[in-house]
């Protein structure tokens, strides 16, 4: 699998660019992944990224977008738990892009 | 002889065959799904307890923990870690894996 150099550290990614070993994740890696995904990281993006990392720690899975939207609505309120808000932050798919930036695998059932 | 069993006793007959054919004084090491047999309340518990008269029974600790069974081990079963697994193999002149 391909290796990339991020802030002076060699890390392994899969063929779609997802981090292979999520224990290696740090903010430099998140910023690198965000540039790859053409996402300008703001506090609003970080909120979703951090939410995903907590979700993964609790359930050992990257949620499908429908599940992510619902879970964010529950935790951060309905103004954030909707497709419009999340797709504005991550235009190419909130689950797919935010998971990559969070260092998680691609969500199960994501086509 | 060290006998190593890795299949669940409620799914396969390998533990039963092993206990039937192991000679007195042999050691039996339960690993992977076979560790369920060494836990309290299960269907295989009685067989393990009966076998303890003639055999030394060991179970691999990391496999017990990975199955939520670390706190349920039958009395008299020796829990070993990976180092203990290596020691058992080294101590016995031969070993048999029941696949």
């Amino acid at each position: 699998m391909p290796m990339v150099n991020i802030a002076g550290k060699e890390v392994e990614v899969d063929e779609e660019g997802y981090l292979v070993d999520l224990s290696q994740w740090n903010e430099d890696i998140a910023k690198y992944m965000a540039v790859e995904e053409k996402v300008d990281l703001t506090d609003a993006h970080w909120e979703v990224v951090n939410f995903l990392r907590e979700y993964y720690a609790e359930y050992q899975i990257a949620p499908a977008v429908r599940v992510l939207t619902k879970a964010i609505g529950k935790k951060l309120g309905p103004e954030k738990g909707n497709n419009k808000y999340l797709y504005e932050l991550f235009p190419y798919g909130p689950a797919k892009q935010a998971c990559k930036i969070a260092g998680l695998p691609k969500p199960t059932g994501c086509i | 002889m060290l006998h190593i069993v890795n299949k669940s006793a409620t799914e396969r007959s390998s533990l039963e065959s092993c206990l039937r054919l192991a000679t007195k004084g042999s050691a039996v090491l339960l690993i992977e799904d076979a560790v369920y047999a060494a836990t309290k309340g299960g269907a295989a518990a009685a067989k393990i307890q009966a076998a303890q008269a003639d055999l030394k029974i060991y179970a691999l600790g990391p496999d017990l923990a990975a199955r939520g069974m670390a706190g349920r081990v039958l009395d008299g079963v020796n829990v070993v870690d990976y180092g203990g697994f290596v020691d058992l193999v080294a101590e016995h002149s031969n070993c048999q894996s029941w696949l």
Binding site: E58, T108 | T10, D33, A66, G68
Partner: protein
């Protein structure tokens, strides 16, 4: 799963799917792979039931710690199923009791079923997939 092809407009037929889990976790890959299939099926809005019988009951044990064998602890993922709208989890009482377990030993809320209840549940399914 060609039956799903007709679901494209999202308003198609809903079938009753049962996933029958009969294997202990970790010793084989069936439990983990079965769980992945269940999560994917959730995207198709089908009527999904999850049944744990025989050694499959062991998948739901509380207090699992997989660090020592260096594999993923997917027992935590069963707790995410509610978020995927998979809420019908059934455990076969005969299998549970044969392993010295009670509902309190399990990581999620389940409905415990007698043999007769389980027979009826199985008989009314359109599709049964066994892992």
């Amino acid at each position: 799963m060609s039956d799903m092809d007709m679901e494209d407009d999202g308003s198609g037929i809903v079938k009753k799917f049962m996933f029958l889990n009969r294997k202990a976790p970790h010793g084989t890959v069936y439990a983990l792979e079965g769980l992945e299939v269940v999560l994917i099926t959730a995207a198709f809005d089908q009527d999904v039931s999850l049944v744990f019988t025989d050694d499959g009951v062991y998948q739901l044990m509380k207090g699992i710690d997989t660090k020592g064998i260096e594999v993923k602890d997917f027992s935590k993922t069963y707790r995410a199923l509610e978020g995927y709208d998979i809420e019908k989890l059934y455990v076969d009482r005969t299998s549970m009791e044969a392993r010295g377990l009670t509902e309190d030993d399990l990581i999620v809320d389940v409905t415990v079923m007698s043999d007769d209840e389980m027979k009826n549940l199985m008989a009314e399914q359109d599709v049964v997939i066994s892992f």
